[in-house]
């Protein structure tokens, strides 16, 4: 699956939407009167909306690279090429300086590898 970086904004929007729904739900829950009654209808509606938003965010994440990551972790393959990993893991803070790395002036900081090695 080829990732389209332009689609990222929907994932961000979904996440912010989730934050908004959770915030509204928190407001309504704390403003409501007591807890020895049945949960008010508004709170239940908002809880349902939060669950829906969580599902939306998770599905957007799945589409936008989550499937590749899960596949890579479960099958121990490289997420871009699909080939098995054979070298040991690199530590997080290894400063890997490639003197020939081109400095990107126009700068989208996310080089989505548009390779033909799509996971079938």
């Amino acid at each position: 699956m080829i990732l389209d970086p332009g689609f990222d904004r929907w994932v961000w929007l979904g996440f912010f939407g989730l934050l908004v729904v959770l915030g509204v739900r928190a407001w309504v829950v704390e403003s409501s009167r007591g807890r020895l009654t049945r949960t008010p209808g508004r709170v239940r509606a908002l809880t349902g909306a939060s669950v829906v938003m969580v599902a939306v965010v998770l599905s957007l994440m799945w589409v936008q690279g989550g499937q590749q990551v899960i596949n890579a972790v479960v099958n121990r393959v490289d997420p871009v090429t699909g080939l098995p990993l054979d070298q040991p893991a690199a530590p997080v803070v290894a400063p890997v300086v490639d003197p020939n790395a081109p400095v990107d002036e126009h700068g989208a900081p996310l080089p989505a590898p548009a390779g033909p090695a799509a996971n079938p």
């Binding site: 990732l3 990222d8 994932v11 961000w12 996440f15 989730l18 934050l19 959770l22 915030g23 739900r25 928190a26 407001w27 704390e30 403003s31 807890r35 020895l36 009654t37 049945r38 949960t39 969580v54 965010v57 994440m61 936008q64 690279g65 989550g66 990551v69 890579a72 972790v73 121990r76 490289d78 997420p79 871009v80 990993l85 070298q87 040991p88 893991a89 690199a90 530590p91 997080v92 803070v93 290894a94 400063p95 890997v96 300086v97 490639d98 003197p99 020939n100 790395a101 400095v103 990107d104 700068g107 900081p109 996310l110 080089p111 989505a112 590898p113």
Partner: protein, 666 residues
């Protein structure tokens, strides 16, 4: 008595004394004599005459002047401590630093400053009515004289990694907010670098050296505020929280407070944890309070455990005593802090979320949605914004689980160095063991007081990082993430000891002096090669100004202000097996020949690291330089007149920019 009096209806033998009182409204008084037959004999104790009153002992000088002492001793000591600091700067000979570090070269005024600062703290603590502003001021002076002592004495920020990070900030600022790709994994979490790049640009400055120098003291002050606030909630009382803050400062040899993303991450972690254990803290009621669930019948069988757990999970925690809108303010601010940590640092979000998840599981705070927000935020960020990380380095998440290798890297590799260095390293183990010991003993006291095991659980949660195999620094992080709670539990233990025996007070005072002296010794232990001078930074900036982009610039080892500018302009060479750092390499000339850099930079701290950590011959870096010059491959482009080990070698024939005509590139 009014008609409420029903004693009239009692036994008739009691009526006789009252019959003498005709007025039924009069107060009834029980006469003693006639009732001896009915009442049992009294068991009152006979009156014992008091002992003869002696003259009270004349008040001692201290007792007579107690109000004055309470009022003025602490401020006087604090002012004395501050007055000692310039003397400390003047009497410390940084050039004499060796494997034992800063503690050995400090002049007497520095130790006196520390002693006076501790005295200021303790005298206010044991005053009759401790004043909070004075205790705050004394704490600030204490931090300045202990954690901040290197910032006062050394003219520039120590610790090479802090300078590396300022180089990252510079790279982001120079590239107008575009983090360079492919250079370092840390650029995928660019929030901290972007934040300081923004500050720098908005303030019109071109370097952050002053910020770097004072950053550790400022950050530890913020952490101390956090510990104090957390201790107020968990321990209560007016004196114990201050002791907790001081204990934290004293046990914090870990030095993760240099200019770095993790230092700000810990500030945010403490904020969230303090508010989760303070204003948001609550408990869960028992399951029968859940609306919609019926109360159990009398004699009903107890529900199976899993059923009770499900009911518990569905029971929201009680509302805290805060008004709803205050609660929401705190909740939204905590959510903001969690979201802010995610793009700033890799590990801290997991520490926060792990501790919050434990608290949510046992229903100890209101606002369990924070855990959901945090987890989803981390996933979204890594998947979308940090895409280069998982497309190129998926091995991180598969995790080689190399706990064995991490253990070796964390423990064994750090035990190298000369005798002074080894003592420093064993000292660190000792204080770390002390931290855990105090914490676990304190957990027992806390359990006896409040029947609560959750805090010690919070201290244990960070140990999960060991499974990730993060490397040597991981153990420092495990200790650091758990240290706030360990400190507070330890303070509970100390308070118990002081209440148990009064003579513990001077014992603990002496202990405090010893702990802080140890702190200065441990934190300054590597200063022989961690100290940085302004001339080192100036020299490197000159190198950047005069080297054309694209060349390979290489330091002989890690310490020192390397790559503080021009990170994206130069390569570093490297990637040769066994030549990761030149200082410990066995064949230094061969390594340099293989890497073939255009510029070689050396600082005095690199020379010192070679001598005290890798046990090279003193003067090894100059010998190496002279050998390279004699071979004709390099020439000495610059050597600092005051420090011969600050030098720059250039390859013969490599182009050099004339700094007089060009401004700073980029």
């Amino acid at each position: 008595m009014t008609t409420q009096d029903t004693r009239r209806d009692a036994d008739s033998s009691r009526d006789s004394p009252r019959a003498a009182v005709p007025d039924s409204e009069a107060t009834q008084v029980m006469a003693v004599g006639a009732q001896d037959l009915a009442d049992p004999p009294t068991t009152a104790l006979p009156i014992i005459p008091p002992p003869p009153v002696e003259d009270p002992a004349p008040p001692t000088w201290v007792e007579r002047n107690r109000p004055t002492i309470d009022r003025w001793l602490s401020p006087a000591l604090a002012v004395l401590a501050l007055a000692m600091l310039p003397l400390a700067v003047a009497t410390t000979d940084l050039a004499a630093l060796d494997g034992w570090g800063l503690a050995k070269v400090l002049g007497a005024p520095a130790w006196l400053a520390l002693l006076f600062a501790i005295g200021a703290c303790l005298s206010e603590l044991y005053a009759k009515r401790p004043r909070i502003p004075m205790l705050g001021a004394a704490t600030a002076v204490l931090i300045l004289c202990s954690t901040g002592l290197p910032s006062v004495i050394q003219p520039a920020a120590r610790f090479g990694t802090a300078w590396t990070i300022t180089g990252f900030v510079d790279a982001v600022a120079v590239a107008n907010g575009v983090p360079p790709q492919g250079l370092d994994a840390r650029f995928s979490w660019p929030a901290f670098f972007a934040q300081w790049a923004w500050f720098r640009e908005a303030a019109g400055a071109d370097q952050l050296d002053v910020v770097l120098r004072w950053f550790p003291a400022a950050v530890v002050a913020v952490w101390a505020i956090g510990i104090y606030a957390l201790a107020r909630s968990m321990l209560g009382g007016s004196r114990a929280p201050w002791a907790a803050a001081w204990l934290f400062v004293g046990l914090n040899w870990i030095e993760q407070d240099y200019f770095s993303p993790q230092a700000t991450g810990i500030c945010l972690l403490l904020t969230v944890l303090t508010f989760a254990l303070g204003p948001l803290a609550t408990r869960r009621t028992d399951a029968s309070g859940v609306p919609g669930w019926p109360a159990p019948h009398v004699g009903a069988k107890r529900l199976p455990l899993w059923h009770r757990w499900v009911v518990s999970a569905m029971t929201p925690p009680n509302r805290p005593t805060l008004p709803p809108r205050q609660l929401l303010l705190v909740y939204f601010c905590a959510a903001l802090c969690i979201l802010a940590v995610i793009p700033a640092h890799q590990l801290t979000p997991f520490a926060i979320l792990g501790q919050l998840a434990l608290l949510a599981l046992v229903g100890r705070y209101r606002g369990r949605g924070l855990v959901l927000i945090g987890i989803l935020g981390v996933l979204v960020f890594i998947l979308i914004a940090a895409r280069p990380i998982w497309t190129t380095q998926i091995g991180l998440f598969i995790g080689d689980g190399n706990t064995g290798a991490a253990l070796e890297a964390g423990v064994a590799d750090r035990l190298t160095g000369d005798f002074g260095q080894q003592i420093v390293k064993y000292g660190r183990f000792l204080v770390a063991a002390l931290s855990y010991g105090l914490g676990f003993l304190g957990a027992i006291i806390y359990w006896r007081r409040r029947r609560d095991l959750v805090p010690i659980g919070l201290a244990v949660v960070p140990m999960g990082f060991a499974a990730q195999g993060y490397g040597g620094e991981g153990f420092l992080r495990i200790l650091l993430f758990g240290l706030p709670i360990l400190t507070i539990l330890g303070t509970d233990l100390l308070r118990f000891l002081v209440r148990w025996r009064g003579w513990m007070k001077p014992v603990l005072a002496v202990g405090m002096v010893a702990l802080f002296a140890m702190l200065i010794f441990l934190r300054g232990g590597n200063d022989s090669y961690q100290v940085v001078y302004p001339r080192d930074a100036e020299m490197y900036r000159q190198v950047v100004a005069t080297t054309p982009p694209g060349q390979n610039v290489m330091p002989l080892s890690d310490p020192g202000p390397f790559a503080i500018e021009g990170l994206t302009m130069y390569g570093r060479g490297g990637g040769i097996e066994g030549c990761g750092r030149i200082a410990p390499a066995t064949d230094k000339i061969g390594c340099i020949a293989q890497i073939n850099p255009d510029v070689i930079v050396n600082f005095g701290s690199i020379e010192a690291q070679g001598v005290y950590l890798y046990l090279n011959k003193p003067g090894w870096s100059l010998d190496l330089a002279n050998t390279l010059i004699a071979q004709g491959t390099y020439y000495m482009w610059f050597q600092d007149p005051t420090d011969p080990y600050d030098f720059v070698l250039r390859k013969t024939g490599a182009p050099v920019i004339d700094s007089a005509t060009q401004g700073r590139p980029g």
